[in-house]
């Protein structure tokens, strides 16, 4: 066995059962490893050392000293195992004193069946002499694994042991085989700094080891790949003479190049074998601006940061710092170089936690916050803190009872609790405590904290009218202590189903907004322009709501974690976040007049280089300050747009976005992009002396017919308004079928088919559904939708529309939603539960609804659908925007509720767009149920008279017996009527 091993080592032959762990003998120093240290407050970052006095294999081992008992995480680079096979992890370790170490392998693979982490972990206690440890496991999922060793503060018990490791191996089978490194020859790339600022050259180090007994010559070829363009270029080729059993280091300088994000990888060949070099990454960015911005005047792109201070239970070190191969100063410098100028803190992590600051009533420990404020100011970063963190107590976190609030215990003990439907209770602190804290913070940091956001997302914790009091108190105290600070109220979220309208109204009606300088919001329900709830429409709606109370109040987008997508799956959204998501959101916000925009977290700017296949939340496997592709995008956005003001949105065709700004120097600058997920466009700029840039700030040649990408382009020049209005933008797909809707005309069932012209000239089309014999010709105006009708005699759920522009034919499958029809003066029965009779007169819609429900149950005041309620749905333009299933401005809702068992009186509510005061209604109860009558003037729905209208009715039912059961019966649609109008029925005149 030994002889064979010798032959294998000396010939450099990599056999099929090679050890996949890179640098397993640590001869390449810390290449291909990551070390995270959760340090105590004020602690620095201690790098591991390489101990040449003791080793199992090669000339050195890796040693971790830990005098301050950091929690240390020691991770390898990812390697691939074959799913289903058995493997054994083995390693050598020793320590200078007893310590428990959690050892093993992890995988972040996700499959449709399970998205849980995969872990194979064991607890081991090293001895004072080298000893080999091992265990076996079976690889699962896709087989992307890395090793992890963790120790230092388990159970919140500090352990300052020094630990050594060497000879880490994974081999196939259930027994540990004799140790062998990955290959006889190994090479790696390292770089001390991963951010090149401005024109700086990128220093690189190549380190190689020859484990064999014969001298060899290595050939290394290094390639660079640019993230944005996928262009690959040769970055270096060299030959290295490597003596037997030796290591060689070489330094390399990459020349100045383009801005952006790059990966460096390569191949090493020698002695008839070859291997790959694990990729490393770096970014080139603009020189960040100096000075702290004045947030009253200058718009910047901010980020939520906890300064690397640890969150919740990740480290078990309260208020500690997570060192990603650097100390806190290095951490802040990394973010400063990205161009960040605004930090939002106090939401996540321990930074600015009320319970760590006010340790007893009126007793303040400013040591932590002094340090953070100083750190931020020294790095020229403006700070907005979330004062009071969040008014909640997480009493029931999943299956455990854990109190995760950051409010002081004395506040909680004296606070009023508010029950919510969330996995936490809302908290209303005593006014005096809130007042004291606000004044203390603002006076301590006068002139040094730029803005105070009054708690985070109060609308999912506490009622609006109560929160209003806290705005008034804190706003007054902060202005008294620091008149220059910006008071930001709101933090209104649409995450977790949060609803803005009523909450904002409560703030407005109570004059709380008089105590704010800005209103903040978190647009989780409308992240992008192509979201189901489009971001721009949501901003316009928010502006309209605010206009009622404070038309000139600046709006701040103070948090957006999910920059794209519709769901809230952290893993999926994180893995799919691209630089253009960030850029589009920021540019849209400032284009629409949002004063400040912030996203979270700061770690979105860091990539998990060592575990590229990790699909869980990224935070868990960050090991070093490696810039992510978002990092140079942030830099570029700040370079071009910090301090800019919006001029106007230029109306290009649907699917594209174009904004014109003036930059901080007053010069014109524009940004434009493709805002769709899957459509393509080309554009041709017309103008002279135009300077075009890509998302990272690289100059581009202006050519006709350029592809309009999702990555925004930036444009400088003169008379840009004219240039942009004359720009030709052509969609690849000139037209599309938007959808279909059933209707009835002259007694015949008809299918309306929507067709949209995406172009900017009229088009002539011919179309025919496959059930029809004759085609129809239509002319559609640019950026418009036409609806074409065909008689449909049979029920069908799907059809194919054949459509031609005279040059090509396309075939579009279209689903047909079954909808119901009712006519004026006819009574419609819905099961045994209810019936309704509409009467359409010239002036109004009169409705009589009979509900056979004698059992009156409880109702939630602000959620009438949770209770006995009649819900009415109206769509005054049901056959328009057929590709927009969510509510349009033409969709209105009415809730009509009888008196409830929990004491709520009968009530009528209409959503925005319904002139509720014009509606007459009455509910009559009897022993069998209740009858509701309404007279809704057409004008109350924004209509001029009776016409075919999208209509639906749902009756909600709650039982008095407290079963908690709630049911709903819908006439035409289903339980998604509240967000999807496509299944509303149709109400027709007699």
């Amino acid at each position: 066995m030994k002889f064979i091993l010798y032959v294998l080592l000396s010939t450099g032959f990599i056999c099929a059962a090679e050890n996949p762990v890179r640098n397993s003998s640590f001869e390449l120093d810390s290449a291909n490893y990551g070390v995270v240290r959760f340090a105590r407050k004020g602690g620095g970052y201690l790098k591991p050392e390489f101990d040449t006095t003791t080793s199992v294999h090669g000339k050195q081992s890796i040693r971790f000293t830990n005098p301050k008992a950091d929690m240390i995480e020691f991770l390898s680079a990812e390697f691939k195992l074959e799913p289903g096979k058995a493997y054994t992890l083995s390693w050598y370790m020793k320590s200078d004193k007893p310590v428990r170490i959690r050892c093993g392998v992890l995988s972040g693979d996700i499959t449709p069946q399970s998205d849980a982490w995969i872990t194979e972990l064991r607890w081991m206690k090293p001895e004072m002499e080298w000893k080999r440890y091992s265990f076996s496991f079976r690889a699962k999922k896709y087989g992307n694994y890395f090793t992890e060793f963790r120790w230092g503060n388990w159970g919140q018990i500090p352990n300052a042991a020094t630990v050594w490791f060497d000879a880490v191996q994974i081999n196939e089978g259930t027994e540990a085989t004799p140790y062998a490194p990955r290959a006889t020859i190994e090479a790696a790339l390292t770089a001390p700094e991963r951010v090149c600022v401005g024109d700086a050259q990128m220093p690189l180090k190549i380190v190689a080891v020859n484990y064999g007994d014969a001298d060899t010559t290595l050939s290394l070829r290094i390639m660079q790949e640019e993230y944005l363009t996928r262009a690959k270029t040769a970055a270096g080729e060299l030959q290295l003479e490597l003596k037997a059993q030796s290591v060689v280091h070489r330094n390399l300088l990459l020349p100045k190049g383009r801005y952006g994000h790059f990966s460096l990888s390569g191949e090493v060949t020698g002695n008839g074998s070859n291997d790959t070099i694990f990729p490393i990454h770096y970014a080139r960015v603009f020189q960040p601006r100096s000075g702290i911005p004045d947030l009253h005047r200058e718009t910047v792109l901010g980020v939520e940061s906890s300064y690397g201070e640890t969150a919740e239970n990740q480290s078990f070190i309260l208020g500690g710092f997570r060192g990603l191969e650097t100390d806190q100063e290095g951490y802040m410098r990394f973010f400063r170089n990205s161009g960040i100028k605004l930090l939002r803190s106090g939401n996540n992590g321990d930074a600015f936690s009320w319970n760590l600051i006010e340790t007893a009533p009126g007793v303040f420990d400013w040591s932590g916050t002094d340090r953070l404020v100083e750190l931020a100011n020294r790095n020229e970063l403006a700070i907005m803190i979330v004062l009071g963190n969040m008014f909640y107590v997480r009493d029931n976190y999943r299956t455990q009872k854990r109190d995760l609030t950051r409010l002081p215990s004395f506040v909680i003990q004296n606070a009023r609790k508010i029950a919510t439907k969330m996995p936490w209770d809302g908290i209303l602190p005593p006014y005096e405590m809130w007042k004291r804290y606000a004044y203390a913070m603002a006076s301590r940091y006068k002139g040094r904290i730029a803005a105070y956001e009054l708690t985070n997302e109060p609308n999912i914790c506490v009622p609006g009218k109560d929160y209003a009091d806290y705005i008034k108190i804190a706003g007054k105290e902060i202005r008294r202590a620091d008149p220059g600070a910006i008071v930001v109220g709101g933090g209104i979220t649409s995450d977790f189903g949060g609803i803005a309208g009523e909450f904002l109204s409560a703030l407005g009606e109570s004059n709380a907004l008089d105590f704010c300088d800005a209103l903040s919001f978190h647009p989780y329900a409308s992240r992008q322009e192509n979201s189901v709830n489009p971001a721009r429409e949501s901003l316009l709606q928010l502006r309209r709501m605010l206009t009622k109370f404070k038309p000139e109040m600046p709006l701040w987008n103070s948090e957006l974690y999910y920059l794209w997508g519709e769901n809230s799956d952290n893993k999926q959204v994180e893995a799919g976040t691209r630089p253009y998501h960030l850029a589009q959101r920021f540019l849209l916000d400032i284009g629409e007049g949002i004063k400040q925009t912030m996203y979270l977290p700061d770690t979105a700017l860091i990539m998990h280089e060592l575990s590229p296949s990790w699909r869980q939340v990224a935070n868990f496997v960050l090991t070093g300050l490696i810039p992510s592709p978002l990092y140079p995008a942030h830099s570029s956005l700040m370079h071009f747009f910090a301090g800019s003001t919006p001029v106007e949105r230029i109306n290009w065709i649907r699917g594209t976005t174009c904004y014109l700004f003036r930059d901080r120097d007053g010069q014109e600058i524009a940004a434009f992009w493709n805002n769709t997920k899957d459509k393509k466009f080309k554009f041709t700029l017309k103008g002279e002396k135009l300077c075009l840039y890509d998302i990272y700030g690289n100059s581009l040649a202006v050519k006709p017919g350029m592809l309009l990408t999702q990555e925004p382009y930036f444009l400088r020049g003169h008379n840009l308004r004219r240039v942009l209005t004359e720009t030709s933008v052509t969609p690849e797909q000139i037209y599309s079928i938007t959808g279909s809707r059933l209707s009835i005309s002259e007694g015949k069932r008809m299918l309306g088919i929507g067709v949209y012209n995406h172009g900017n000239v009229p088009i002539n089309l011919k179309l025919r559904p496959d059930f029809a014999k004759i085609s129809q010709e239509i002319t559609i105006k640019p950026q418009s939708e036409n609806v074409v009708y065909y008689a449909l005699s049979e029920e069908c759920q799907q059809t194919k529309i054949i459509i031609s522009d005279g040059k090509e034919l396309q075939s579009w499958p279209v689903s047909i939603n079954a909808v119901k029809f009712c006519r004026s003066h006819e009574t419609t029965q819905v099961g045994n539960f209810f019936n309704f009779r509409p009467v359409m007169t010239e002036d109004a819609l009169d409705l009589t609804i009979r509900v056979n429900d004698a059992d009156r149950g409880p109702r939630e005041k602000d959620s009438p659908w949770i209770g006995d309620t009649i819900e009415l749905f109206f769509d005054t333009q049901p056959e328009s925007r057929l590709d927009h299933p969510t509510y349009t401005r033409n969709v209105h809702r009415i809730f009509l509720s009888p008196a409830s068992s929990n004491g709520l009186a009968a009530t009528f509510q209409g959503t925005n767009g319904v002139n509720s005061t014009a509606v007459r209604w009455k509910i009559t109860e009897d022993s069998e149920g209740y009858t509701a009558t309404l007279s809704i003037p057409w004008s109350a729905l924004g209509m001029s008279g009776p016409t075919q209208i999208g209509f639906d009715i749902a009756v909600d039912n709650a039982d008095s017996l407290g079963s908690g059961k709630h049911t709903q019966k819908v006439w035409s649609g289903n339980e998604f009527n509240y967000k999807n109008r496509m299944r509303f029925g149709t109400l027709m005149p007699k």
Binding site: L767, S775, I802, S804, G806, E808, L809
Partner: protein, 301 residues
């Protein structure tokens, strides 16, 4: 009645629904009803139905009629052009274009020929002046009862011995086209295909020295190539003018059209006839089926 006839005559429309002498002449067994003519062909004879009147000089006319010829064997001659009509088991429409000479003469007749007895019938005959500048010629297949098209036939090189060994030319449903209806399908069957197979049209009118547009809808079974040929006609000893227009095809319907500059008759004498033919070809390297719809021949300038 008279005023109508006068009007029709003045407009150049000759409704020859009444098959009577002296407008028409016939021999060889044609049985004439008022608006139709029927023949049972006897091998060795050449029964003819002839239009006997003269026309305007140097004028293009369109002859249109329905015909039935289950066994084939029916021919039509217009001017110098003779076409063998495809067998049809149901009445099928057909158009012929021809130009009269400077004396208003052009032979116009239907006859049967062959060595087998065949049955044929023609009816609803109309002859009218055709203004080729104002009116495009549409060769579509929607009214063809099938299986064979009436306005196209297989090129002689394709047909060879008259069998379907090399491939077929049929009319098929075109439900996947926006206009529905039918299409003409060139289908290759041979194991060793030739370079291409072509279907040739009946003559279409042309004014020499002018520009025309030819176009149509095409769909193949695979990505490949096809062509539209505009053929001025071959005559021994004279220059033969042909315009080849190749294009790509795919499994999706696509419209293709080409501008054609027709030479002057001084250069290409055959064009004095006032007609030429169109040919649709499928390159057999990749495709084995080509569907064709709505071939249009239209005057530009």
């Amino acid at each position: 009645m008279r005023p109508i006839i006068t009007l029709l005559l003045l407009s150049g429309f000759l409704q020859a629904g009444e098959l009577t002498k002296p407008d028409w002449n016939w021999y060889g067994g044609w049985q004439i009803n008022s608006d139709s003519a029927r023949i049972t062909h006897t091998p060795g004879t050449w029964p003819k139905l002839i239009y006997a009147r003269s026309f305007k000089a140097d004028t293009v006319y369109r002859l249109r009629f329905l015909y039935l010829a289950p066994e084939g064997g029916l021919f039509c001659r217009t001017g110098k052009y003779t076409a063998k009509l495809s067998p049809q088991k149901e009445f099928a429409p057909v158009d012929f274009y021809f130009k009269t000479d400077n004396q208003g003469k052009a032979e116009l007749c239907c006859f049967t020929s062959g060595e087998s007895p065949v049955h044929a019938e023609v009816k609803d005959i109309s002859i009218e002046e055709f203004d080729g500048k104002a009116n495009a010629v549409h060769l579509d297949f929607n009214r063809d009862p099938g299986p064979l098209p009436t306005s196209f036939y297989r090129h002689v090189r394709w047909e060879r011995d008259g069998s379907d060994k090399l491939g077929t030319l049929t009319v098929v449903p075109a439900d996947d086209h926006v206009d529905g209806g039918k299409a003409m399908r060139l289908k290759l069957l041979a194991q060793n295909p030739p370079k291409r197979i072509n279907a040739v049209s009946l003559p279409v009118p042309v004014i020499p020295g002018r520009r025309y547009r030819v176009g149509g809808w095409f769909k193949a079974d695979r990505d490949g190539k096809a062509q539209v040929i505009v053929d001025g006609g071959w005559e021994k000893g004279l220059e033969h003018w042909v315009s080849f227009n190749n294009f790509t095809v795919s499994p999706s319907w696509q419209h293709r059209s080409f501008e054609i500059e027709v030479p002057k008759e001084e250069k290409i004498a055959q064009l004095k006839s006032g007609v030429l033919t169109l040919s649709i070809g499928m390159f057999c390297e990749n495709c084995s089926e080509l569907d064709v719809k709505e071939i249009t021949w239209s005057y530009i300038r």
